[in-house]
Symmetry: D3
Subunit: 135 residues, 6 copies
C-alpha cells in the first residue's frame, strides 16, 4: 500500500473574476462582488499531496524540504504578493477561480515531480471555500 | 480529470441518542451520556463536496453562491437552533448519530444537485469526532 | 512580573435562552431562534486563566494537572452532555447566555483556587461568539 | 466586575502599502513585496470586543445580533471584496497597514456603540500577523 | 454506500531521524536538523478513519468510545511522552519518520479492528507536514 | 491610545521536566510523565506582542520583517530542533516548563527591542496548555 505526504504553504494575492468574452452584465451576474473592477484578495492556503512508496533508506516518500522548495520556487515566488490577473501569464486570459488556480498549480508542479508519484492539489480560497484537483 | 469544490457551513442543534426499540438499560449501555433524557448539543460543522468538470465559461465547477444557498435553505433552516429529535421529521424515529445526520443531509441535497456531479458530505460533531458519507 | 497559565477544555450542552419574567413575544424579540422551546446546543470551549508567580521549585505557576482536574470535576461533570436549563441548578432560573455561563464558571472555580492567584474565564459558544469574565 | 463579548467576522480585500510622500526606493525599502504596484490581498479576520455590565433582563452585555449587524453594515459592506487603496475614502491617503485598518475600524464603530461600553479591535491580516487597537 | 468515521487524538514525543546504515555525513545530508543527536519533538495529531456500514440498531459505524479506547491503550500509552527512538521497540531500528509512524500505527490497530472495516491513518507531525497511510 | 502587533512563529523541541534538587520520587510526583528520562517533545507556538505608537511614516508599530528576523535569529535558531535540557545553556539548570521558556524568551528579546515598546510573550506548549509572560 502507498503512503501520501502533504505539505502546506500559502500565498497572498489579489484577483478579480472576469471573463472578457462575456458582457459586463453577464460578468456581474455570474461573479457578483468577485467581479468588482479594482480587485480584492485572499490568503490562499495550498496543500500539495504526493503519493508513493516509502523509500527504505530514508523512510520518506519524498524529501519534504525538496517538496517545500519546489512549492516556494515555482508557486509562492510566482503568486505571492501578486495580482493574479495582472502580474501572471497564467491568468492573463484564464479566469483565476479557485478551480483554475488549483489546476494551474498542478500543471506547474506535475513535470517537476517524478512520474512514479501521484500528485494532488488542495487550495483554500477562504476557510469556507476550497477546491481539490484532481477531485 | 475532475475537480472537487467544498463549501463549509454550520448549525447548532440539540440531540439525544436513543433507540426506542431498545430497553433503557441497553440504550444507556450503548449510548452512555449521549442518551441522557434532556438532550445535549453540538456546533455541527458541515462540509459539502461537489465533484465535476470545470465549466469553461465561468471557471466554476458549480456556483458557490448557489451551493451555499442550497445548504442554507435546506439544511441550516431545518436543523439550526433546533432539537433534532423533537423538531425534525427526519429524526422523529431515526437515531441522530453523526453517521445518520450525514446520510440524511446527503439524501436531502442529492436530488437538488445536478446528476452530473458527485456529492459528498463531511460532518463534524466535535473537533475530535467526524464522519463522511459516502465513506 | 507575573505569569499567566491557560488550560483549554470543552463541554457539549443543550440550552435555550428564555427569561420567564418576560412575555413570549418579548422573549422571541430579544432571543430570536435562541428562544425556541425545544432547545439547541453548542460545543462550548472553555479556557481557564490563572495568573501568579512562578514557583521556583516546580517552575509552574500552578500544576496543570490539578487545574485540569478541577475543571473536569466541577465544570465538565456538571455541564457536559447536559441540558443547562433543565439539568443544572445554576441555570434553573438564570438565563444561560454565554455571559452568565462564564460568570457561573468563575463563581464555581474561584473558591477552589488559592486566593494568591487571579482567575479569568474565556468561553467560546461558537467560533464566532465568545466572552470573557472578568472582561 | 465587567464582562467582554467578542464577535468574529471577515472581509476579503486587495491592498498595497505605499506612502506617496516617500520615494519609490524608500517605499520598496520599507514595504518590500507589500509595495508591489498591482496590489495583493488578504482574508482579513476581525474580532470586535465590547466590554460592559451584563444586563439583568437579557443576560447579554450587548445583543450579538445588533453587534453583528453593525459590523456587517459599516465594515464588511465597506471593505469586503474591495481594493482598500482605490475603493475606500478611508485609505485614499492613509496607508492600509493592519495597524491603520484596525484604527479606522475602531473610529467607525466607536460612535455607533453606546459610550458605557469599552471597545476593542483585533485584526488578523494573516494567521501569523495580527494587531490590536487599543493595544 | 459506506460511511467513514474519524477520531482525532494526540501524543507528544521526542524523536530523531537517523539511519544507522548510513554515514554521519549521509545522515546529516538527508535528514538535516532532524538528525541532531539529542532529539527534538512534536505534538503529533492522529486521525484514525474507520469505514463500513452503519449498524441499524446503534446508528454507529463503530462505537467511538471503543475506538477512542483502542487508540488510547495501544497508541497513546506507547508513544505519548516517550522518546520514539529510545523508548519503543517499534522504532528501535526503524527510522521514526512521519511515514513510518503512520504505518506502524496502522499495523498496531489493524488486527484490533474487525476485518469488515477499512482502516486509514492520518498523522500530523506539524500543522504544515502530515501523512496518510494508506495513501 | 497605543496599538499592539503580534507575530506568530514556532519551534519543535525535546524537553524533560526535572529539578535536580529534588529526589527522583519527588520529581515523578510533581512532573509525572513529563519527567520521563528520555525526553518527549512539542511543537511550540510562539506569539510575540509588541505595543507602541503607530509610526506616521510607515503606518507600522514596528516592521514585522525586523521582528520576524529577531525571533528567527535569537529564538528559533536556538531552540528549534533542539533538546532544551541538553542543547541550550538557558535550560542547563533551569527547568524548561512553559512558564520558564516564556520568561527566557522574554529575557532574550527584551534588550533587542526598543525600550519605547512594551513586550509580551505567549507560548503554546500544546493547543490545550499555554502561558503568557508578563501575565
Amino acid at each position: 500500500m502507498k503512503t501520501s505526504v502533504y505539505r502546506k504553504s500559502h500565498f497572498n494575492s489579489a484577483h478579480r473574476l472576469h471573463n472578457p468574452l462575456l458582457s459586463d452584465q453577464e460578468n456581474e451576474s455570474i461573479f457578483g462582488k468577485c467581479n468588482r473592477p479594482n480587485y480584492h484578495g485572499h490568503n490562499y492556503e495550498l496543500i500539495v499531496k504526493v503519493t508513493g512508496e516509502i523509500d527504505p533508506i530514508s523512510g520518506y516518500v519524498i524529501d519534504m524540504k525538496i517538496l517545500a522548495d519546489l512549492i516556494k520556487d515555482h508557486i509562492e515566488e510566482k503568486f505571492d504578493h501578486r495580482n493574479l490577473n495582472l502580474d501572471t501569464e497564467e491568468f492573463a486570459t484564464l479566469n483565476p477561480t479557485a478551480e483554475n488556480i488549483a489546476r494551474v498549480i498542478y500543471d506547474i508542479l506535475r513535470p517537476k515531480i517524478d512520474k512514479k508519484f501521484d500528485l494532488g492539489i488542495r487550495l483554500y480560497e477562504t476557510e469556507r471555500n476550497f477546491v481539490e484537483y484532481p477531485g
